[in-house]
């Protein structure tokens, strides 16, 4: 192995170059675009885009809505996925099938997921049919209008939970598989209850997986867009849908970039928080 010194660099060079071109360059461009505005005599540095963004009537709503979704959906998905992962450990027959069914939503786009739940939640949808049959409502009822913000939020939360719990589940199940059964058995021998086994043994050992899942889910939740558009339309602006509207409908790339910067800063901050809060000390690894 004469050329070991150079080999790894040659191997990572293509991907590094790629990420530089398609990640770092647009990242810098986004920031630059966000902080530039057409002034007299071409583009000049300014915070005008941010001022327009902050002054827009949907901005506050978009921030609040985005955070509401993240704050509700992410913990909900984590609990749901933890429960499912724990249940899976006790499934003997048909584990493969159950696992497959539970991970199906992993492959479903948020656009499709939005449409799925739209079919259920429209005025003449299946939910109202069931509620009507139960006598809860009389006739079609609207859940997704601006007059029913709570129901709309709930609908989006449910759709998000339906679609994206699978990814948390997969990460957690993978993490659970790395935890030797003996640890739980040892705790069992020493008299731990099932709940104690879960909180004292499983949860701490799953910390790295939980961290990954939280980071990924949170970043993706900030990216949420098509599901909100299909269910809420303009009734439920979120940060990325606003970025999309500014770019696509309003054709104002600067304000769109400003939104993008906001989303990125929030995502990065959330990631850092998770990294610090869920740190595993090196001596415990």
């Amino acid at each position: 192995m004469r050329n070991t010194r150079l080999a790894p660099y040659l191997l990572i060079a293509p991907s590094l170059l790629f990420l530089a071109v398609l990640f770092l360059v647009p990242l810098v461009q986004t920031v630059a675009l966000a902080f530039q505005a057409d002034g007299p005599g071409g583009a000049a540095w300014s915070t005008a885009n941010f001022a327009r963004m902050a002054g827009d009537l949907n901005f506050a709503d978009a921030i609040i809505n985005t955070f509401e979704i993240v704050v509700i959906v992410v913990p909900l998905q984590l609990c749901l996925a933890l429960g499912m992962a724990m249940m899976l450990r006790h499934v003997q027959r048909g584990r493969d099938i159950v696992l497959w069914i539970w991970s199906i939503p992993l492959g479903i786009s948020d656009l499709a997921a939005g449409l799925v739940w739209l079919a259920i939640l429209t005025d003449q949808g299946y939910l109202n049919t069931v509620l009507n049959w139960l006598g809860v409502v009389k006739g079609p009822q609207s859940w997704l209008s601006y007059e029913t913000p709570i129901a709309l939020l709930a609908a989006i939360v449910v759709a998000e939970a339906w679609r994206a719990t699978a990814i948390v589940l997969v990460i957690l199940v993978a993490g659970v598989q790395l935890v030797p059964k003996e640890y739980g058995e040892a705790a069992d021998v020493f008299g731990a209850t099932p709940w104690q086994r879960f909180t004292k043994i499983m949860l701490p050992l799953l910390k790295p997986s939980i961290q990954t899942a939280l980071i990924l889910r949170t970043v993706l939740a900030f990216e949420m867009f098509a599901i909100v558009l299909s269910l809420g339309g303009r009734n439920f602006p979120v940060l990325v849908s606003e970025a999309f509207t500014w770019q696509y409908a309003n054709q104002n790339f600067g304000v769109a970039a400003a939104y993008a910067v906001v989303v990125m800063v929030i995502s990065l901050a959330a990631t850092l928080v998770y990294l610090l809060a869920l740190r595993t000390p090196p001596e415990q690894r």
Partner: protein, 430 residues
Amino acid sequence: MTRPGLRGLSAALLGATLLLAPPRAHAEDMVFVSTQMRPIEEAQKVRDTILKDAPAPVAYVTEDPPALPVRVKAEMQGGKHTISLIGALHGELQPLATMGALMTLDDLAARLKERGIPDEVMKLGQFGTGHQMYIPWMQATYLMVANRQALPYLPAGADINALTYDQLQAWAAAIQEKTGKRMLGFPAGPKGLMHRFFEGFLYPSYTGGVVVPFRSDDAEKMWTAFAGLWKTVNPNSTSYNFMQEPLLAGDVWIGFDHVARVLDALRQKPDDFVAFPAPAGPKGRGYMPVLAGLAVAKGAPDANGAMALIDYLAKPETQITTARAVGFFPVVKATLPPDLDPGLKLAVAAIAATGGAKDALPSLLPIGLGQKGGEFDKVFMDTFQLVVLRGQKPRAVLDRQGQEMQRILTETGAPCWAPDPPSQGACQVK
């Protein structure tokens, strides 16, 4: 265990090599980009019926209005032209003409003279340059459609073809009172055309203009009145993109939309619905005629083919076929045959009633805003959202949004368009 993986990968690689050479079988077809008749079912009708007898094979491609100038510009800069023919609204073609992206069509216009396109309509296609930049293609407008079940609730003495906004409100209120449901609907969803209602109907009807009186006292009164009307509007309206769906589903009984977006309801159940002009306000019956034109891109790969297609599309037979298929009406002299399907007949009658109303006040689509068209529309939608949906005081909102509108007009330098009085330089909000 490695076998299936191997086979899978080699299959994928094989597939990839096949796909990397995408089919270019239709590459030679002339490309016709249109911002009209975009919904997939309509576009399908364009391909299957209207273009069926075209002189040469055509690739009909739809485009969101904001994306059209981006794409044309990209092709101009890249020097790689794919688009030959462009079909778009008057206001969407104007920035392209300004950009220098359109061929002049003076000869073609002269040749098509005998088709009987009214002179004032033909002249719109010159954008005041003295050269024909596009050939008028087809026209449409917006109208109202009501379920016959709603008719008994019509206020006493109201003529459905000469409705006022006050009567509309009374009508919807009566329905709400009797049925407990809000059965009036507007297409205020993300892809709906609600902004056109404000720009072409509500503002002219109440203020006689669009931009100049944007923040006038008349406008303030108008918004207050509209907020009152909205109390009778189905709350799902902010999700409606097309009114034909909620009309057919019975979610709403009375709806306003572009003719092409309600036509399906009329066609499917012509006996259930009536169509009629939009209401009138104190300053008249504002309405927005929609004129679509056909233009040939400069550097078009097949300019002659494009012109031949314009010729074909401007034939009376084709224009009638177009009207039958998608509900856009002829610009050339053509008599619609008596065997039109009943739904289309309803629409034709309503459109005729709109244009022919004594108090008709035509209001053009915004002109000269280029890429800022989206932001211009946003001003109206934001005002709507703030005043009507969030219940803010109209005065403060109008003052703020008025500044925003002025900024857009100043940046683009767009002069006023009808019904606002013509202006020197950028249109000014009073």
